[in-house]
């Protein structure tokens, strides 16, 4: 039902098609058929709920086991929480400081999101509103490079970080986000549809500098596209595992995913309750954020994939 409402809203927005009357697709079916329909809907809902449970049960086990002792977990499976939450936390924090990893991940993800959003908007603005030599060649080259998988340059990237002396620091994890081709591409497409050159010309006549025009007119109008991409940039950076694993050596600089991988080989792994708790701490904030943002995340995924 909801997708009907959505598509209707989309139609209303585009103002292409005239409003259509809501009419039932067919005449009321005879009674027997209605009964059959009710039964199959019941089956479908049951299936959907089972699927929902499958999606959620690993998280539930994680939460439950995070509160149980090692012995309890080893002796059997339960859906009722135990009482060892504080003990598990004590064991976990004896080995690692999970909040350091949390802080590192947060710093990197926030800076990556800000830099990627700001500089991509700037690049998109340059590509969209100025005519200069080589513009099209540069744009096409950027799109081609977008197709190249990240692993291709991995070894070269490691080597250049070594040469620049920025290994084991956050710099190679943050600075490259200034150049995010896909974000530039997305914002440029959006800008060309929403921001008209006449607005920029009007501002020029009023005596605004080019940089000022970008900051006060273009950037605010690009914000919806920037925000859409920011959700993905943030999640992508937060979940990135390969790059920090390769580039960071000091445990106090580890991001959360690297710290989680590190936990596996450590002695914490012998205490299952503490291990579950460590995983829970890394997962629960994302789950809570998702509760509030799921609508935006879903529409962002659709916006990234479906181009009309």
């Amino acid at each position: 039902m909801e997708q009907n409402a959505e598509s209707r809203r989309m139609l209303a927005d585009s103002e292409v098609q005239p409003p259509r009357e809501e009419k039932p697709l067919r005449v009321e079916p005879p009674k027997q058929k209605q009964k059959k329909k009710f039964f199959s809907r019941g089956v479908i809902y049951t299936g959907l709920i089972i699927l929902t449970i499958i999606c959620f049960i690993p998280f539930l086990m994680m939460l439950v086991n995070a509160t149980r002792t090692n012995g309890e977990i080893m002796s059997g499976f339960s859906l009722l929480p135990g009482t060892a939450l504080i003990d598990n936390y004590a064991i976990l924090s004896d080995y690692i400081n999970i909040w350091t990893g949390f802080k590192n991940s947060l710093i990197i993800a926030v800076l990556v999101t800000l830099l990627s959003g700001y500089f991509s908007a700037m690049t998109a603005f340059g590509f969209a509103f100025y005519d200069f030599k080589g513009k099209n060649v540069m744009f096409i080259f950027m799109l081609v490079m977008m197709m190249v998988p990240g692993q291709l340059g991995l070894i070269g990237f490691y080597e250049i970080s070594k040469t620049l002396g920025i290994l084991d620091s956050f710099i190679p994890l943050i600075i490259p986000s200034i150049a995010s081709p896909f974000v530039v591409f997305f914002i440029r497409q959006y800008t060309q549809a929403t921001l008209h050159i006449s607005m920029i010309e009007a501002a020029r006549i009023d005596g605004a500098s080019e940089l000022r025009i970008f900051h006060t007119i273009a950037l605010p109008m690009m914000m919806p596209a920037v925000a859409t991409m920011s959700i993905f940039t943030f999640i992508g950076s937060w979940n990135n595992y390969l790059m920090p694993l390769v580039l960071l050596f000091s445990p106090e600089k580890y991001t959360l995913p690297v710290l989680m991988g590190f936990l596996k080989g450590s002695q914490v792994a012998e205490n299952l309750g503490a291990l579950y708790l460590g995983i829970a701490i890394s997962v629960v904030p994302i789950m809570i954020a998702f509760l509030f943002m799921s609508k935006y995340i879903v529409s962002s995924i659709s916006a990234g994939a479906v181009k009309e």
Partner: protein, 299 residues
């Protein structure tokens, strides 16, 4: 060129400085290393195509390639099948299912979680002796002995496929659903008037119109799948146990470079992986469009 247009260069300059330094240059540097015997210390020698010759006969790499395709293939079939089935149900005008937003959120949730947490979580859930999965199955009486999921090649690969399906079907479902809601209701109404049943409506209306979206899902999933790495790394011993069945191409690349310091050879592996990705993407594209052309001719 107008005077103002020089500002264009200024606006795109920061992007290009960083792009050239951290994206383009590394790609060419890797290409250079793939022709050397570089091991991490300066003074590498150029060895021509030796690394590539080795790659072609390297049974570990070929095995990694086969593993990657197997794991991705099973996962993709399940994932897209589930996504299409769900989209079919939720878009059915006669069923009028409620709660799309609720289900969609739950189905998508696993996709948001840090993959190392997922790997760790399933690592202990699938544990042979103390894992909750075996305990639950034993309690329910489905199995009589605990199954050693992660130490048999077949079940280990299947486990990775299923975990990937668990993580990604919600994502595919959202995209397919967005595509379905973009299809004009007129098509369905017309098909309905022509007397199409639910299945005919799906195969003759929904599927053909969804083709571009399915192509998008397939290409992105394939490129992501060929880069599969973190789950196999973290689920077992990090080099592909049991029996090398979890050795994927990127895991092999990672181990060659950062574990054994064979940077030169690892660079060749990276380019091999790139070529494989290109070929597969081209095949998918071509397959999709050939069918389309044939259909047009037929009509």
């Amino acid at each position: 060129m107008k005077k103002l247009d020089r500002y264009g260069y200024a606006f795109i300059a920061p992007f290009w400085v960083v792009f050239l330094t951290f994206s383009i240059y590394p790609v060419f540097l890797t290409l250079y290393y793939s022709f050397t015997n570089y091991t991490g210390s300066p003074g590498e020698e150029i060895v021509g195509f030796a690394n590539y010759a080795r790659l072609l006969t390297d049974t570990y790499f070929i095995e990694a390639f086969v593993n990657t395709i197997k794991i991705w293939g099973v996962n993709f079939a399940l994932q897209i099948g589930l996504a299409l089935l769900l989209a079919l149900l939720f878009s059915d005008l006669r069923l009028k299912l409620k709660g799309l937003a609720f289900f969609r959120s739950f189905f998508y949730l696993p996709n948001l979680i840090t993959i190392s947490s997922v790997a760790l979580l399933f690592g202990i859930l699938l544990d042979w002796q103390h894992g909750s999965l075996n305990m639950m199955l034993l309690k329910l009486g489905i199995i009589s002995d605990p199954i050693n999921w992660l130490s048999q090649p077949v079940t280990a690969q299947l486990s990775v496929s299923l975990i990937l399906t668990w993580m990604w079907f919600g994502h595919s479902f959202i995209i397919v659903m967005a595509g379905v809601s973009g299809i004009s209701k007129d098509f369905f109404e017309a098909a309905h008037i022509d007397g199409a049943n639910r299945w005919q409506m799906f195969t003759f209306v929904t599927l053909p119109l969804l083709k571009p979206i399915l192509l998008y899902i397939m290409i992105t999933s394939l490129i992501g799948g060929l880069q599969l790495f973190d789950l196999p790394l973290l689920l077992t011993d990090g080099i592909g146990a049991p029996d090398g069945s979890l050795n994927t191409m990127v895991l092999y690349l990672y181990n060659q470079a950062f574990k054994y310091n064979n940077y030169g050879y690892a660079a060749a592996v990276a380019y091999g992986l790139f070529l494989i990705t290109l070929v597969f993407s081209a095949v998918v594209f071509k397959g999709m469009f050939r069918k389309e052309r044939a259909a047009q001719k037929g009509a």
